[in-house]
């Protein structure tokens, strides 16, 4: 009995020793921080300028080949607010928030969901995705979906594969008739994005979850106060 206990403890000791050696052999974290990119994309949606025309959704669908029945972006309409004839609707953009601490990236078992170090975009590596849908369940903004054609988790990637690779702005930004969407580099103080962020009060969704999203909203100011 004592003998078997001793052998079990020995085994445990061996495992612990092996694990500690393994962690020492890991590359130190500082190595990856060396090349800090000068690029970090973000977006502002000005809910005062948005008229809810859905041009952004249509453009996104066309450019990124998003099948019917699913969408990477949609404009949620709430209201009407106020008394007739002074009534208005409110519009809120519902799409990937490109979180700095993305829950989808954290839970993905294969690393198919990842943050592009170059641009800060939360992207999907289609080859690696097995379709466990853990990311879809983990996203607190519920914007991920399974693309019925590729059978892979899909979502907004700021047109990383399409428009950005050709040096163009994301399709939704170009399509917006009222310029309610501003896209740009957070690290560039001269960018329209940073200027907008510094001149208008913005909010981000569900920040208390610690996700640090990069989709900013300018809140609607007309109409009644809603609690």
């Amino acid at each position: 009995m004592d003998n078997s206990k001793r052998r079990f403890l020995k085994g445990c000791g061996g495992v612990i020793a092996g694990m500690s050696v393994y962690t020492v052999t890991q590359p130190p974290q500082a190595n990856t921080a060396e090349q800090v990119s000068e690029l970090k994309y973000a977006m502002v949606h000005d809910e005062n300028l948005c008229i809810g025309c859905n041009a952004c959704e249509d453009a996104c669908r066309k450019v990124n080949n998003v099948p019917d029945g699913v969408t990477r972006v949609n404009i949620e309409r709430s209201g009407p607010f106020g008394e007739y004839p002074n009534q208005s609707y409110r519009f809120s953009r519902h799409s990937c928030q490109h979180c700095e601490a993305a829950p989808c990236v954290k839970v993905c078992p294969t690393g198919a969901a990842y943050i592009d170090e170059e641009t800060g975009i939360v992207a999907v590596n289609e080859d690696r995705c097995v379709g466990c849908q853990y990311c879809i369940a983990a996203c607190p903004y519920q914007i991920r979906f399974i693309n019925p054609e590729t059978r892979v988790a899909d979502k907004c990637d700021f047109c990383q594969q399409t428009q950005l690779s050709e040096g163009l702005l994301p399709a939704c930004v170009l399509a917006c008739p009222t310029n309610a969407l501003v896209f740009g580099n957070l690290k560039d103080p001269a960018s329209a994005l940073v200027k907008t962020l510094k001149s208008k009060p913005t909010y981000r969704d569900k920040v208390d979850l610690g996700t640090r999203p990069k989709l900013f909203h300018v809140r609607t100011i007309d109409g009644e106060i809603v609690l």
Partner: protein
């Protein structure tokens, strides 16, 4: 809003069955080890209850994984989950635990049943004989590691869901403990049911041993369930909304009170206490009590999975 289809629902019942089977396998292994260690010693392989656990544990874990793979949107790509790992992902670490668990489970089965297998082999396949002898010699180490792995697997089924930060009912620190304890009790029930079906003595030493553990375990489970929902309600906000929506109304409210609390916990507890005072156990008593426990745990898994996804933050 229907009970099985609503906005925001991502994971359906196959995941609940997988969680149930993984916990059941872990529990069956845990109790088989306890039976051997505390009661049966070298005669363990002769006990129908240990034999039942030895059949149930590998089949349950393999069936659960099979369901999981079929439920992927790309089932044929499942091997990628075994090749690529992400240390921050509960699922990825769970895959690792499951892999090692299965290897150790078969090693343990080989070591515990080495005597009958050796007799059956009769000098055929000398390589296999040698391997079995090796396994039997290291049974203590294998057993120790397997106990840790089975507990890890039982808790993992809870951590998998509690990592989902967008759902207050799931993102709950009590959930892994609740799933661990209920998984163990489902394993005990499956071992008992399988054992008596394989003509084990319903009044034997194994049944008495497991029943003695089962009563405090049911009480702990009730306490955990109470803490789980009391904690949610006291947190206020969406946590409270989620808790009240789950246990306070509708289809899932009935499943919880009648199925999980009534059939799954209260009746088995009453039967166990009755069998303890009457000190006479018959086949029907043991089988019915075990079946009720199993139904209760299966309902609990479905209840938590569905109601958890009903309310987002």
């Amino acid at each position: 809003m229907s009970a099985f289809h609503f906005d925001g629902l991502v994971w359906h019942w196959p995941i609940a069955i997988y969680l149930f089977l993984a916990g059941l396998s872990a529990g069956a292994v845990f109790f088989a080890i306890m039976l051997k260690h505390f009661k049966l010693a070298d005669k363990a392989y002769l006990s129908p209850f240990v034999q039942a656990a030895a059949v149930i544990a590998p089949i349950a874990v393999c069936a659960g994984l099979g369901i999981l793979v079929i439920d992927l949107t790309k089932p044929l790509a499942f091997w990628k989950i075994l090749v690529f790992y992400n240390t921050s992902s509960v699922m990825s670490m769970g895959v690792l635990v499951l892999l090692v668990y299965q290897v150790m489970l078969f090693a343990w089965l080989g070591s515990v049943f080495s005597t009958p297998i050796q007799q059956w082999l009769k000098q055929r396949l000398p390589l296999l004989s040698k391997l079995l002898a090796q396994l039997a010699r290291h049974e203590d180490v294998i057993t120790g590691v397997l106990v840790i792995l089975s507990l890890s697997l039982g808790a993992y089924t809870g951590f998998l869901l509690s990592a989902l930060i967008g759902f207050p009912l799931l993102n709950n620190p009590v959930l892994p403990l609740l799933f661990l304890i209920s998984g163990l009790s489902s394993g005990a029930a499956a071992t008992l049911l399988g054992g008596v079906l394989m003509r084990g003595n319903p009044n034997g030493v194994e049944v008495r041993f497991i029943h003695r553990i089962e009563i405090p375990m049911i009480l702990v489970e009730i306490a955990l369930l109470f803490t789980f929902f009391a904690g949610l309600i006291l947190s206020g906000g969406q946590s409270q909304v989620a808790a009240m929506k789950a246990i306070g109304e509708g289809f899932w409210g009935w499943i919880f009170w009648a199925g999980v609390v009534g059939v799954g916990l209260t009746l088995p507890l009453a039967f166990n206490l009755w069998m303890k005072v009457s000190s006479d156990r018959k086949f029907a008593y043991v089988a019915v009590t075990a079946s009720f426990s199993l139904i209760g745990v299966l309902l609990l898994r479905n209840f938590i999975l569905y109601t958890g996804q009903m309310t987002a933050v």
